[in-house]
């Protein structure tokens, strides 16, 4: 840690911006003690995060012979996944589902955050915003399972419809199929999107809208031409925070999805549970590749400093 240096005075270079070409800067760069604080994190991340992921990449090119892992190079695992009908369909479905759920979540969250920032008095606003995060403190599994009690045959919606005399038979549209998974995914990841959009809207200078209106734009037009472009980055960040976890989601499909709602996450989980390591590894690498491409494309939206700082 920089503050634990032996010098009594805080060196100037540590407190003031220094000319990068000066002697001080060169000496500073060579001082390894300032990086000591990274050591424990580097060890833990190195052994239990980087190494395991590399191992997955390696295994995805190995073969199994008589149920044993053999270190012989092959691309067969990838071929199996990309040529087997169920696998490739599931991969496509997962990406489509992630896209749809992300778009829906953003579309729902934006007007909500707009309302929170502009129409709710500041004191109440903080409380209401805390309420958005509150679901995080409830059992994730039971929040998913509660949807069975809402959407199921004897669920809240069907009981309500029956009591209103609208249906005699329970409506089986949602549960144990793809729509149910979709609803639960939007529900699960809404707070992530709201968190990002809220912090960005909260910092927006609303007098700009006023200026737009004063200059003759309609309120709607000033919203679209002034506010929306400034929200682009926040939208991207929020989108990434929703899209990526869905790619690996296996719990929600398992609980509410039935056989039709299976996503890539379930396939991967089953491969590993069935000791099909190379196949599971190859599927994992494919998912990781999609994520990597996204992260590189949208790296600007990744400055998470603002979100967790607040």
């Amino acid at each position: 840690m920089a503050t634990l240096e032996t010098a009594t005075r805080v060196p100037d270079s540590e407190t003031r911006p220094v000319n990068p070409r000066s002697g001080v800067a060169r000496r500073e760069r060579r001082n390894w003690r300032q990086y000591v604080g990274f050591t424990p994190a580097a060890i833990v991340f190195g052994i239990f995060f980087i190494a395991p992921l590399c191992l997955i990449v390696v295994y995805s090119f190995w073969q199994t012979k008589d149920y044993n892992l053999v270190p012989e190079f092959t691309t067969k695992n990838y071929e199996t996944i990309t040529t087997t009908d169920t696998y490739i369909k599931t991969l496509g479905k997962t990406i489509l589902m992630a896209l749809l759920a992300t778009a829906t979540t953003l579309a729902i969250a934006f007007p909500f955050c707009y309302w929170l920032v502009r129409y709710v008095p500041p004191r109440l606003q903080r409380v209401l915003f805390l309420l958005v995060i509150l679901p995080f403190w409830t059992s994730y599994l039971l929040r998913v399972y509660a949807w069975v009690a809402i959407l199921g045959d004897h669920g809240a919606i069907n009981v309500l419809l029956k009591n209103l005399g609208l249906t005699d038979e329970p409506v089986r549209l949602f549960l144990y199929d793809t729509p149910g998974v979709f609803i639960v995914l939007v529900y699960l990841y809404f707070p992530f999107a709201a968190l990002t959009l809220y912090s960005s809207l909260d910092r927006f200078d609303w007098s700009l809208l006023r200026a737009g209106v004063d200059l003759g734009a309609s309120p709607m037009r000033s919203l679209v031409t002034i506010l929306l472009p400034q929200m682009k980055l926040a939208m991207v960040t929020a989108g990434i925070f929703v899209f990526i976890p869905i790619l690996g989601e296996y719990v929600a499909p398992e609980i509410v999805g039935g056989t039709n709602g299976v996503l890539m996450g379930n396939l991967i989980a089953n491969f590993f549970k069935g000791y099909l390591l190379p196949l599971g590894s190859a599927a994992s690498v494919l998912i990781a590749l999609v994520i990597l491409v996204l992260l590189v494309l949208f790296r600007k939206g990744l400055d998470t400093k603002d979100i967790y700082g607040s």
Partner: protein, 285 residues
């Protein structure tokens, strides 16, 4: 400032009503599952579902007799505390160089640190499973689960503590140095008192994350059961409202923990402000 739209737009009143209704609808969406979960914990019927057949507190009282749940609670707390300590120490140690050391590609390092948050837990879970069984020859167990959760929690700690550290005015340290304070003194009497609310918040985040972690833990915990693992095993065989009662109590416990921590931080802030006031005036306020 917040309402200047209304001045210019005659329809803004209507707009406001619609948006408010919409906002409330969102809260219904967010809290319906939680309300259902709590409601069904009071249901007489053994089946978790509607319609409710009667009100009972039996499921809460039967919790006290369920040894499996109590064992799982104990393991959850043990794992939670271990993860909190590990992640807070490792994360805080890393936050300092992240903010203060000379790093050429600071934002790249920051993105790298957030990777365990960005990558789906599933991939982290299976990767750690494969590493521990195939390379380290360690069967999935409680300690492996602690390590896996630490990997997940540490990035949050780094982000929270480093953002607190960034807002710290380094003139305080310069002043302390000018007054003769050594590095250890500067750290313990200047930096730590200013940064600790961030560290406490980060520790709390790590603890609550650990308490509910399932996605990664599921793969690496082996035969031991923390509460989420127990709940999952029950989901497979059809749960009883007892699990709902358990989750309702956990929600209550978490809220209490967060409120107590927030109040505690505020109290300490008030007390230190008061004692400073006393030092200045020489009179107890």
């Amino acid at each position: 400032m917040a309402h200047d739209m209304e001045v210019v737009n005659p329809r803004a009143g209507l707009f406001r009503v619609i948006l408010t209704a919409y906002g409330l609808l969102i809260y219904l969406f967010l809290f319906a599952p939680i309300a259902v979960m709590i409601l069904l914990s009071f249901n007489k019927s053994k089946v978790v579902g509607f319609p409710m057949t009667g009100f009972t507190l039996d499921w809460y009282s039967s919790l006290t007799q369920n040894m499996i749940i109590q064992d799982a609670l104990g393991k959850s707390l043990a794992v939670g505390i271990s993860v909190t300590v590990l992640a807070t120490v490792i994360g805080t140690a890393a936050a300092f160089p992240l903010v203060r050391a000379h790093i050429k590609y600071r934002s790249a390092v920051r993105v790298f640190i957030t990777l365990p948050i960005m990558i789906p837990g599933l991939l982290i879970g299976v990767a750690i499973l494969v590493l521990s069984t195939n390379i380290l020859h360690l069967q999935p167990s409680l300690p492996i689960a602690v390590i896996g959760q630490t990997v997940l929690a540490t990035p949050f700690v780094i982000l929270v503590v480093s953002s607190r550290l960034e807002s710290l005015d380094r003139n305080f340290e310069r002043a302390a140095a000018d007054l003769g304070a050594g590095p250890v003194q500067r750290f313990s009497f200047v930096v730590l008192p200013l940064v600790y609310p961030g560290i406490v918040a980060a520790a709390l985040m790590a603890f609550t994350l650990s308490l509910d972690e399932f996605v990664v833990t599921n793969f690496i915990i082996g035969s031991d059961q923390t509460l989420p693992i127990y709940i999952y095993s029950q989901l497979k065989f059809g749960i009883t409202p007892e699990v709902n009662a358990l989750a309702s109590l956990m929600l209550l416990g978490t809220i209490a923990l967060v409120v107590v921590t927030a109040l505690g931080l505020r109290l300490i802030k008030m007390l230190t402000a008061k004692s400073r006031q006393e030092e200045k005036t020489g009179v107890p306020a």
